[in-house]
């Protein structure tokens, strides 16, 4: 966590059509059939594809600070050292998470001994080996995980998130 290396923060992408369609949340399911076609009801946002690091930059069990989808949304990129479900890279062990606690937004810190992210706010903790599952705590969601792509050159890109990031009502900031 002490590694404050800056990443390239990619261009921001805006939704075509500007603001959200009606009922932005899970729009595809929220809108009753027959009304949905009136809007560009997109299941999920378009995310920027941001280069976070190269494989060569990562050391096992030493998280690197990142910002994704933009610099105001802090996260970590982490090589766990053993493959996990949802892990990226040649060893299937690279993961990236938001580090804003989804309870009240305190910054999580990494505990290398058991590979968890821990919250000084009210003591929630999340398992980096289990997709950010809340091991115990007050948040009503598991940790947003960033989906990763690794190209032939070993460059690691973040390309999406699977839960709402604390402090923003749209993961890709709008407007």
């Amino acid at each position: 966590m002490k590694c404050n290396r800056l990443v390239d923060v990619g261009r921001r992408q805006f939704l075509r059509g500007g603001v959200l369609g009606v009922a932005g949340a899970a729009a595809a399911t929220v809108m009753p059939a027959g009304q949905a076609q009136a809007q560009q009801a997109r299941a999920m946002l378009d995310y920027p594809s941001n280069k976070l690091a190269n494989l060569a930059d990562l050391k096992v069990n030493e998280p690197m600070d990142i910002g994704y989808p933009d610099a105001d949304s802090p996260g970590i990129l982490l090589k766990l050292g053993a493959a996990v479900e949802g892990g990226a890279g040649p060893d299937g062990d690279i993961v990236a998470y938001s580090v804003l606690c989804p309870h009240k937004g305190y910054s999580l810190s990494y505990h290398a001994a058991d590979k968890t992210l821990n919250c000084p706010g009210h003591f929630s903790r999340f398992d980096c080996e289990k997709g950010g599952q809340q091991v115990w705590g007050h948040a009503t969601q598991n940790l947003p995980q960033f989906s990763l792509r690794v190209d032939d050159a070993g460059d690691i890109y973040a390309e999406g998130a699977d839960e709402l990031i604390y402090g923003r009502l749209s993961n890709v900031l709008q407007g």
């Binding site: 603001v19 949340a25 305190y106 058991d114 000084p120 706010g121 007050h138 699977d162």
Partner: protein
């Protein structure tokens, strides 16, 4: 991989969205929330929204301008689909904007036809017909209930009607609903065979403190912020009263309070206290299970011997003399003066240490933190919170009495920074006619049902199958008895109403039972029911309740009921109407007259008929104005446009809960007598593992909804049992394995969760689970007043399966934060 909603944006609450006062209806703390609703086709924008913030920017820590997907849903309001956001209220003194893992999912746990959440909610009345449950009208269902019920009861002869009815606030309880059922069963009728939602009899969980003159909710939550010592007994508040802990106890520790936690288990509360106060200011007394009474009697003796008592308070506010109330069938211990109690409960440090397994030094340390005057001679303030660890533990009456003894002796009741209070489960909301006819000890309903008692059973949001002891036997017998009636009904398919009712009554007379279930979901005991009536929850109706510091609030209805579901008070009223009609038709006019007085149209009518009749100052309008901070009961008046409440009881030193005219509190004279409930000591000797039971942060108080909540079920697909890793190795267990827990009473199952802080041979299992009923292994033994002893249970453990696929995917890491 953990469950993810894949929701990455939410509709923005527009300026001008409707705002409703909401008190979280799950646990006793009663945190304030605001429900916002607005039309489906409208929304706020990043620069024009409910809060006037620029939402195109990342918001900071503890912002008011964010809500989680769990706080959002689409529901019906006056027949229209509307967006709903329910988010914590920063202006509520209880929680100051904090949500919890339960309350902050209120919106997601509402029924929605659009998002598909809580499709399990009951929407229409159903009756058993053609071998299954068929939807029907309210009138048909209630007519059947009234006709069958009328056949088994008569004026002054209502003992064959058994009633299980919740007595709490919050959830689907509250003053309106306890009054509705209370007026019906204790006013129009005098039903004696009744029980409460979480225990097998109709009784107080805290008889002794009341008999001593001390109401169990006597302080203000702020007392935790202004005290020297917080004493927590058999309670785990960071999980079970989350925002009481986070918003009040934490502040107390930050202000310098020390903490004593009495619990055989190292809970996450102990860890959190160490994080906040520093380990040197936290004393965890990991006593032997069930030995609390020995600890308190030892502490009381030692504190008295050291003269760390409040002599003035004892002289002015407590009974002077010897014995005031003798020990008898209704009083498992005598009550009397301070000196009488001292003589009766005397225990040396050595005795106390031997029984509790603590060191004498630990007990002395606790006594000092509780009572030793400060260096400048001023008295030490100590606030005490207790809950199920002793309420559902060994020797309920005496152990609670012994704890209140310490509060009284040290003058810590009715003072700032003091109080000796239960922490509670649900909110409270009890307003009923007298229950004196039930008697004390109250009838042990579940055992009577097993023995063949009862002909008609009305069940109001109780699920005995999940929350009773001796549960396996109970289920076996109840299924059999209710099946007799189902078979009789099936055999008369196509018959007339009269013939059907004759058939039902015939089966009842042959030992069957006719079961009527009023609930919000089709519960487990509801599988045995013949009539099912759909009820609503808080928010689907206006509902008043008070929290653990007696703070009364009105939850404003913000959405429609599912289908034709009704508030319990209205269901009770309509049932009374049908009873009156049926009895009149049958020519039983005098009895029919007893069912008059239920012309309520709304829950407010029930509130006025009930609570308001005893508290004329309190109206919906005034409560609405009082908002999420409400007013602390008892309400003393209405001045300058606001209700005037009582932040703390007994500040005048006059104790009244026992009804004694002298206003003097009594001490409890209950000596230690080992494991008191029948069969416990023997079970302990015969089985290896303590099966301690309790709740978990994630799903306590709302598990009936959470069994259909993916976020919750993904974390714990099966109820867990925490076991020491060395014991796991002994038994050949891996994390996530399924084990069977079995003893002389029955068997149940659990998912193995390694817990390095668990003591050898001491496990902890989640209580009240829909799948894996811990009650199956709890024997029938209760205390003299039929208080269940869920906590002291011993059993053996064997592996029955490797981890299920769902269980294999979850985290088995420690719950203790590492910062």
């Amino acid at each position: 991989m953990a469950f993810k909603r894949n929701i990455d944006r939410l509709p923005i609450i527009p300026a001008g969205a409707k705002e409703h006062n909401v008190t979280c209806h799950y646990c006793i703390v009663g945190c304030g929330y605001k429900a916002y609703t607005w039309p489906l086709k409208k929304q706020g924008t990043t620069d024009s929204n409910w809060i006037g913030e620029d939402l195109s920017r990342q918001q900071g820590v503890e912002t008011e301008a964010w809500y989680a997907p769990s706080m959002y849903n689409v529901v019906k309001q006056n027949g229209q689909d509307v967006h709903l956001v329910i988010k914590p209220d920063v202006n509520c003194e209880v929680n100051a904007g904090l949500g919890s893992v339960r309350g902050a999912r209120m919106a997601e746990n509402r029924r929605s036809e659009i998002t598909g959440t809580q499709a399990q909610r009951l929407t229409e009345p159903m009756v058993w017909r053609y071998g299954t449950w068929q939807p029907t009208s309210w009138d048909e269902a209630l007519d059947l209930v009234a006709r069958v019920t009328a056949r088994v009861i008569d004026k002054d002869d209502e003992d064959d009607l058994y009633v299980s009815m919740f007595d709490h606030g919050g959830s689907a309880g509250g003053y309106e609903n306890t009054w509705g059922t209370g007026k019906l069963y204790f006013g129009s009728m005098k039903v004696k065979h009744c029980r409460i939602h979480n225990r097998p009899a109709y009784n107080s969980e805290v008889h002794s403190t009341r008999d001593m003159g001390v109401d169990e909710l006597n302080y203000s939550y702020t007392d935790y912020q202004n005290t020297d010592t917080i004493l927590l007994v058999g309670t785990n508040p960071i999980e079970c009263q989350t925002n009481l802990f986070l918003n009040h106890m934490v502040k107390g520790m930050q202000n310098g309070a020390k903490v004593i936690v009495v619990d055989p288990r190292r809970t996450v509360t102990v860890d959190a206290c160490e994080q906040v106060a520093g380990a040197e200011n936290v004393l965890h007394l990991a006593i032997a299970s069930g030995s609390d009474l020995a600890l308190f009697n030892t502490l009381f003796t030692y504190i008295a011997d050291q003269r760390w008592v409040d002599a003035d308070f004892i002289a002015k506010s407590t009974f002077q003399g010897d014995v005031a109330v003798a020990e008898d069938a209704a009083h498992p211990a005598a009550l009397g003066s301070f000196e009488a109690a001292r003589a009766a409960v005397k225990m040396t440090l050595a005795e106390g240490a031997a029984i509790t397994g603590l060191t004498e030094a630990q007990i002395m340390q606790a006594a000092e933190w509780i009572a030793k005057p400060k260096d400048d001679g001023s008295r030490r303030k100590c606030v005490t919170g207790y809950e199920k660890g002793i309420i559902w533990g060994n020797d309920n009456y005496r152990v609670i009495g012994a704890l209140v003894n310490i509060g009284l002796a040290t003058g810590n009741i009715g003072r700032i920074g003091g109080g000796t209070c239960r922490l509670g489960g649900h909110q409270e909301g009890y307003f009923r006619p007298s229950d004196a006819h039930v008697g004390r000890p109250a009838p042990y309903i579940d055992q009577l049902l097993i023995a063949g008692g009862g002909k008609v059973h009305h069940i109001w949001a109780n699920d005995h199958y999940k929350t009773t002891l001796n549960a396996a036997e109970f289920k076996r017998v109840y299924n059999k008895r209710s099946n007799m009636v189902k078979e009789a009904m099936d055999a008369r398919a196509g018959a007339t109403r009269e013939e059907l009712i004759d058939a039902i009554v015939g089966a009842i007379e042959a030992g069957g039972i006719f079961s009527v279930c009023v609930d919000i979901i089709h519960s487990q005991i509801g599988q045995a029911a013949h009539v099912i009536l759909p009820a609503v929850e808080s928010g689907e109706m206006n509902l008043t309740s008070m929290n653990g510091e007696r703070r009364l609030r009105l939850v404003e209805k913000y959405m429609d009921a599912p289908g034709s579901a009704q508030p319990d008070c209205i269901i009770a009223a309509r049932l009374a109407n049908h009873m009156e009609r049926v009895l009149r038709e049958e020519g039983r006019a005098e009895y029919a007259d007893q069912f008059k007085g239920y012309d309520w149209k709304t829950e407010e009518d029930a509130f006025i008929d009930g609570y308001n009749s005893g508290n004329p100052e309190v109206t919906y309008e005034r409560l609405r104005a009082a908002g999420n901070n409400g007013v602390q009961e008892p309400v003393k008046g209405f001045e300058n446009g606001a209700l005037v409440g009582t932040p703390r009881l007994y500040e005048d030193g006059v104790f009244t809960r026992h009804g004694r005219e002298d206003g003097k509190a009594l001490f409890c004279m209950g000596a230690w007598r080992g494991l008191q409930a029948p069969g416990k000591a023997q079970q302990k000797a015969s089985f290896r593992f303590l099966i301690n039971a309790g709740r978990a942060n994630l799903n306590w108080q709302n598990w009936f909804l959470d069994q259909k909540n993916e976020f919750v079920m993904d974390r714990f697909p099966v109820p867990f049992i925490q076991i020491n890793p060395d014991d796991m190795a002994d038994l050949g267990l891996k994390p996530g394995d399924m084990v069977e827990v079995y003893n002389d009473v029955g068997a149940t199952q659990g998912l193995v969760y390694p817990e390095p802080t668990a003591r050898r041979n001491e496990t902890f299992m989640i209580f009240g689970a829909p799948n894996g009923t811990q009650g199956n292994v709890i024997n029938a033994g209760t205390n003299e007043l039929i208080l269940p002893n869920y906590k002291q249970t011993w059993a053996n453990i064997r592996k029955i399966s490797d981890a299920t696929p769902a269980a294999a995917r979850v985290s088995y890491k420690s719950w203790e934060v590492e910062l």
